[in-house]
């Protein structure tokens, strides 16, 4: 279970406050969607959960299964079960995708006090996962994300999530830059990972993604806070009416 309580966050130099007392609880097995206009703080929330160092936490706490994430470095959070699928996955020339995947999986196993994966087991798992997402073997030999299209990068993020088996998967605008076919493949990849002990936080601008990854709860974010919570029908309402209702009542 992920619990965020009264979270206040500013960018590192303290010049601008982005999250203003955000509360959010996601239960095991739950798929929660966060929607909101540009600049409402959605991506910041995902970075703060994952442990990006550019932010100053002014108040509040983030607990994953009772453990305080804010006291951990990014790599410890990953080992504890946090996975962030980046909106813009980074390219790492010179590091073969396979090398990177193995390093990440082994680092997490080590951090959890488990033994390292045997190479044949690792190869089999990667091959299987890649096939499901339509990722050709040739891509795995190339530098991580180097020369990949937007859709290929997003599929690679989902493959990493499948291999690392997090307890919470955060998808930061995973639908951005995807055509309809890629959106379907990525969504199927996510749906295949849904389970009773894994939850998801799906961040998106548009309702479209939620046709494929059907959420249990929908939260509207505005000016660094959750301003409305509902079921999946809330997404449809937002699609029809826009965010104006939620943005203006804060301004009024």
């Amino acid at each position: 279970m992920l619990e965020i309580r009264n979270l206040h966050v500013a960018i590192e130099d303290g010049s601008k406050k982005i999250l203003n007392g955000l509360d959010l609880t996601i239960h095991n097995g739950e798929v929660a969607a966060i929607m909101g206009p540009n600049g409402s703080g959605k991506s910041t929330l995902s970075y703060v959960i994952a442990g990006k160092p550019d932010y100053e936490i002014l108040d509040g706490e983030i607990l994953l299964d009772g453990e305080n994430l804010l006291e951990m470095e990014a790599d410890a959070r990953a080992a504890a079960g946090v996975f962030l699928a980046f909106q813009y996955p980074l390219e790492i020339p010179g590091v073969a995708t396979m090398t990177f995947l193995k390093a990440a999986m082994n680092a997490q196993s080590r951090a959890r006090g488990e033994g390292e994966l045997k190479t044949p087991d690792f190869m089999r798992r990667v091959k299987l996962g890649a096939e499901k997402l339509g990722i050709p073997q040739e891509m795995l030999r190339r530098g991580l994300n180097v020369g990949f299209s937007g859709g290929e990068k997003k599929r690679m993020e989902i493959l990493q999530m499948a291999l690392l088996e997090p307890s919470i998967g955060i998808l930061d605008e995973t639908d951005s830059g995807l055509d309809i076919d890629a959106l379907k493949i990525v969504s199927e990849g996510v749906n295949a990972l849904r389970s009773a002990d894994r939850s998801f936080l799906v961040i998106t601008h548009y309702q479209r993604l939620l046709n494929y990854i059907v959420p249990d709860t929908v939260h509207v974010m505005s000016k660094g806070r959750i301003v409305k919570t509902g079921g999946k029908e809330l997404a449809l309402e937002l699609e029809a009416n826009g965010y104006a209702d939620y943005v203006s009542d804060v301004a009024a």
């Binding site: 442990g51 470095e73 790599d75 962030l84 790492i92 680092a107 951090a111 990493q160």
Partner: protein, 415 residues
């Protein structure tokens, strides 16, 4: 106003004492050195590596060759190994490899004045000192049309606080191919001054690799000259983790059209180490291609220097030259000096150069850490990739893997 005669340093006085009245020292070459003394920061080619200030002593040559250490980093490389101990080659194999012959010659070493010399004609002081003090020259001849299977590996060892001068000339006849590796192991307080020259004929393929694994208080000065014939390809890679002071000078000249040179270097330095690569590529004929890629990883108070000059002569049309030097600074005290230069006198050429100095990318570091890699491991992976860009240009697979492994070891030790 009276001119000021600078005081000689301890190293300069020692060199003078070693040369004075000595019959084995070649006085003409010594005079070429002595005219200017040890190079200092007001000499442009040595501006960033002030040998005069950095060289505390110039010990005498060993009277008797010392004992080679048993451990050798490249034992696993299947090669024809020639060991030069304190600059001396006592014997060469009679049948080293098919297509290869060797001899030890008493010839007068080139100090820049020999006919068609590839070394600076105005007298590089380090090469002049080598020509003055070196005992004999090892000559390696590769027969025409022969593809030499195993590399010739020069294991150059300076066994103690002595100076070791060595000189190797490799002649590669038309249509031949070979790999030449020079590995420098220099003990604490030692001074290595090595000159290697490759004269490549036409349609030749040569790979040269220089590795400096010297002790952290050693001085390793190496010069490499290459003359490249028609349609020939020369690759030269330099790898440095050792030495308090390392200077590697490369002088290349295209002498035939349609030839290619690929020069690379990787240096991983810490504490107060300094490594300098100074490169001159002379496009004296048309239609040749040169590629240079250098990577420096600098920790502690280390200093990296890259000076690269591409000269394109007036008639050397269709020259294609690209030079890149990149450095990552891992500590506030680390320094990189980049000086790329293009001197272009022809009008139909493609030449470019780039130089970057920076820290590791924070966003990339976060991406790797968000996947579970602890900070040291994430940094090591990024640096391995950074160094890998330069090592990729080395074509001998065994050596490339060895150098990748040495980089990994260096990065792991950093923690």
């Amino acid at each position: 106003m009276a001119s000021v005669t600078p005081l000689k340093t301890a190293a300069e006085l020692s060199l003078l004492a070693q040369a004075e009245g000595s019959k084995s020292v070649r006085q003409n070459s010594f005079a070429r050195y002595a005219a200017k003394g040890l190079p200092h920061r007001r000499v442009e080619a040595y501006h960033y590596t002030d040998i005069r200030a950095l060289l505390k002593d110039a010990p005498a040559s060993a009277q008797k060759a010392g004992v080679a250490p048993t451990h050798f980093a490249f034992n696993e490389i299947d090669a024809c190994v020639i060991t030069l101990i304190d600059g001396q080659v006592t014997a060469v194999p009679t049948n080293p490899l098919a297509g290869v012959s060797m001899n030890i010659s008493d010839e007068v070493p080139d100090d820049g004045l020999a006919a068609r010399s590839v070394f600076p004609s105005d007298g590089d002081p380090i090469i002049a000192l080598n020509a003055a003090f070196v005992h004999r020259t090892l000559r390696v001849m590769i027969d025409a049309g022969c593809a030499i299977e195993k590399p010739v590996l020069l294991r150059c060892i300076t066994t103690g606080a002595v100076s070791a001068y060595s000189r190797v000339v490799v002649e590669v006849a038309n249509g031949a191919s070979m790999t030449l590796i020079e590995c420098h192991e220099c003990a604490s307080g030692g001074l290595t001054n090595s000159v290697v020259e490759i004269v490549a004929g036409d349609d030749v393929s040569v790979e040269h690799i220089r590795v400096n694994l010297g002790d952290e208080s050693a001085t390793v000065l190496t010069s490499f000259g290459g003359r490249i014939g028609v349609r020939s390809a020369l690759t030269s890679g330099n790898f440095v983790t050792g030495g308090a002071l390392s200077r590697h000078q490369v002088f290349l000249r295209f002498e035939g059209e349609g030839a290619t040179a690929t020069i690379s270097g990787a240096a991983l330095l810490k504490d107060r180490q300094q490594a300098d690569t100074t490169l001159v590529v002379d496009h004296s004929v048309p239609e040749c291609v040169s590629r240079e890629h250098f990577a420096h990883v600098l920790d502690g108070e280390a200093t990296g220097v890259f000076q690269g000059k591409i000269i394109v002569r007036p008639h050397a049309q269709k020259t294609d030259g690209k030079m890149m030097s990149r450095a990552v600074l891992l500590a506030d005290g680390a320094t990189m000096n980049n000086k790329p230069e293009l001197e272009i006198f022809a009008d139909d050429v493609q030449c470019g150069h780039g130089a970057t100095v920076g820290a590791l990318d924070d966003d990339l570091l976060f991406y790797l850490r968000a996947r579970g890699l602890p900070k040291p491991e994430a940094e090591a992976l990024m640096l391995q990739a950074f160094v890998g860009e330069a090592l990729e240009m080395i074509t001998h697979e065994g050596m490339r893997e060895q150098l990748e492994w040495l980089s990994e070891t260096w990065l792991k030790a950093r923690g």
